[in-house]
């Protein structure tokens, strides 16, 4: 039995992972900068990742692994706050892992840092450049989080660091930008564009996080779902009501109706298709939920995790 710290515990993914670890007999400690609902068997703390309160969490427990799933991806948070939580917070967690002899650190990054760009080739692998920043500097915090964690992979070998860059995470308990968008009464698509997209179910990603934690390899890995499909096919599979929106009206729509982050708009215009062969080969993971079930899981189903 090991004691494992999971950040971002108010989020659906962290709780999925916690459930799996508890079932496997591990002790789980959760932390979030927001209020997180209680969960049986989990010691819960509220602490900003960039403040001293998180240090106490490391003093009170001896963690064998830290799963840093608490990247702030979206919406309401201002750039400054995202920078504090994502960049300064991740830096602090990395430092604490090293100071407290944590053996394994899994950092959840995102494929958004590759950027959706008309010059993207297919598929994108871990060695490819991160293009997101030059059209949308607002995503700088996510790129820096990833870079910082990736640097640690080889700079401090005493901590085994695994950085995961998953595609759009979708599922009944997930509240990220993509899942929120798919829960709108009518989901928009950009008129004249229908790029290829990838989706990974929250259960598959939870299994991927667990596989990364149990494995012995270190490094940076893409995590893609099963099938690559166009955006509108995805909407059809999810049986959603849709409407076209001309490019010129997108910013007005984002300011008035949807809180979807503007810096992700290009993902509905240009493809950003990644390959996760390296991750599959290294950790023996593969997705079990198909595209259809993944997209349908968005609606209806309620959380069974409380």
């Amino acid at each position: 039995m090991a004691t494992i710290l999971i950040t971002g515990f108010a989020g659906g993914l962290a709780r999925r992972v916690a459930r799996r670890l508890l079932d496997a007999g591990h002790a789980v400690v959760g932390v979030d900068y927001r209020d997180a609902p209680a969960m049986d068997g989990v010691t819960l703390y509220r602490a900003s990742y960039d403040k001293t309160a998180i240090e106490d969490v490391f003093r009170k427990h001896a963690f064998s692994a830290v799963l840093h799933l608490g990247r702030v991806g979206n919406l309401s948070k201002q750039v400054e706050r995202r920078f504090e939580l994502n960049v300064l917070g991740t830096q602090k967690i990395l430092t604490l892992c090293r100071a407290h002899g944590v053996a394994t650190l899994v950092v959840l990054s995102t494929f958004h840092i590759y950027g959706a760009h008309p010059r993207n080739h297919t598929p994108i692998s871990e060695q490819d450049p991160l293009r997101a920043g030059y059209d949308f500097p607002q995503i700088a915090d996510a790129i820096q989080l990833d870079n910082m964690a990736s640097t640690w992979v080889y700079q401090y070998p005493e901590v085994r660091v695994v950085v995961l860059r998953p595609v759009n995470v979708v599922g009944p308990t997930i509240k990220n930008s993509m899942s929120t968008l798919l829960r709108l009464p009518r989901v928009p698509y950009l008129a004249g564009f229908n790029p290829m997209m990838q989706f990974v179910h929250e259960d598959d990603l939870a299994a991927a996080v667990e596989a990364a934690m149990h494995g012995s390899a270190r490094g940076v890995f893409n995590v893609a779902g099963s099938d690559v499909i166009p955006w509108r096919t995805a909407l059809d599979l999810a049986e959603l009501k849709t409407f076209p929106i001309p490019g010129s009206l997108v910013s007005l729509y984002l300011r008035t109706i949807s809180a979807f982050p503007g810096y992700l708009v290009n993902f509905f215009k240009y493809p950003c298709v990644i390959t996760d062969q390296e991750f599959r080969r290294t950790f023996g993971w593969q997705p079990v939920v198909g595209a259809r079930e993944t997209l349908r899981s968005i609606t209806g189903a309620t959380s069974d995790l409380g």
Binding site: R119, H121, V228
Partner: protein, 286 residues
């Protein structure tokens, strides 16, 4: 073939009425390299392609296209290298239809398109569903290693934007295609297209307007004073497409530029020779 997901959309619905059994049979005969939902990772989907290809075939028929040497297409991976001209990639469309209809077995051609196309609304989707791919070395290597047929225009934008005075004089070939051929051990099939370089004549490239509109070039048709925008409709010239014997190249793919350029020049000379032969053999451009 059943209508694809998203066929509710007005455009596809309209196109769905234009069914071409010959093309549908050809698509059905292609080897299956698709995921469960019928797409490859670049966005090719035979069900939707079967809706777009009849438009391409209309162009093919409009130009009364004659083809020669399609039996020269080797099985497995191949790079098709034609001359390029005529402002719009009509040459690429005609070659793609020729290989699908007359290849034995039918071959899906994956044209490598300019970086400009993914930005064009609607066009980008029609191209991707029909099998076109952004011209990029990684895309090309992946497709060749999957034993597919790639169509590249090594003359690039300089070729398609040729004015009528420059027709059928090949612009210098880029060397990218030759590195890819060497790296993936792929035969190169030289192709000549006669007719395409006169289909939309241009006497001048209006560069400032092209820059303003973010276009690679802006052709000026000599018929504009007479016909206005209709001057840009392709003339009913006759197309003749000839596929040459496959050419094989040996040597390191990461050799010096000069060594690669020499090999690319061999292909360029062969395409130019085939173009010159084709021009000598034709009696009328119509």
């Amino acid at each position: 073939m059943s209508p694809p997901y998203g066929a509710k959309r007005a455009l596809l619905h309209f196109l769905s009425r234009r069914v071409d059994p010959e093309l549908e049979a050809a698509f059905a005969a292609l080897p299956n390299r698709l995921n469960d939902l019928g797409f490859d990772m670049w966005g090719f989907n035979p069900a939707e392609a079967a809706r777009y290809y009849p438009l391409a075939r209309s162009l093919y028929d409009y130009f009364r296209t004659e083809i020669h040497g399609v039996e020269n297409l080797p099985a497995g991976r191949v790079l098709l290298v034609p001359n390029h001209g005529g402002q719009l990639p009509l040459d690429g469309i005609v070659i793609a239809v020729a290989c699908l209809r007359h290849g034995a077995p039918p071959r899906l051609v994956r044209p490598m398109v300019e970086r400009w196309f993914p930005k064009l609304p609607y066009v980008n989707e029609a191209l991707a569903r029909s099998g076109a791919v952004l011209g990029d070395p990684v895309n090309c290597i992946n497709l060749l290693e999957d034993d597919q047929a790639i169509l590249v225009f090594p003359e690039g934008i300089a070729g398609s934007g040729k004015t009528i005075r420059e027709r059928y004089r090949l612009k210098p070939f880029g060397r990218g295609f030759m590195r890819l051929a060497l790296r993936t051990n792929t035969p190169v099939v030289p192709v000549s297209v006669i007719g395409s370089e006169e289909a939309i004549p241009s006497v001048h490239n209006l560069a400032p307007l092209a820059k303003l509109l973010h276009m690679p070039y802006f052709p000026v048709s000599p018929f504009v004073p007479l016909l206005g925008p209709f001057a840009y409709l392709p003339l009913p010239v006759k197309f003749t497409v000839t596929f040459g014997e496959p050419m094989r190249f040996d040597g390191p793919w990461d050799d010096e530029d000069a060594a690669i350029d020499d090999k690319a020049a061999v292909v360029q000379a062969e395409v130019q020779r085939m173009v010159d032969d084709g021009l000598r053999a034709r009696h009328s451009i119509f």
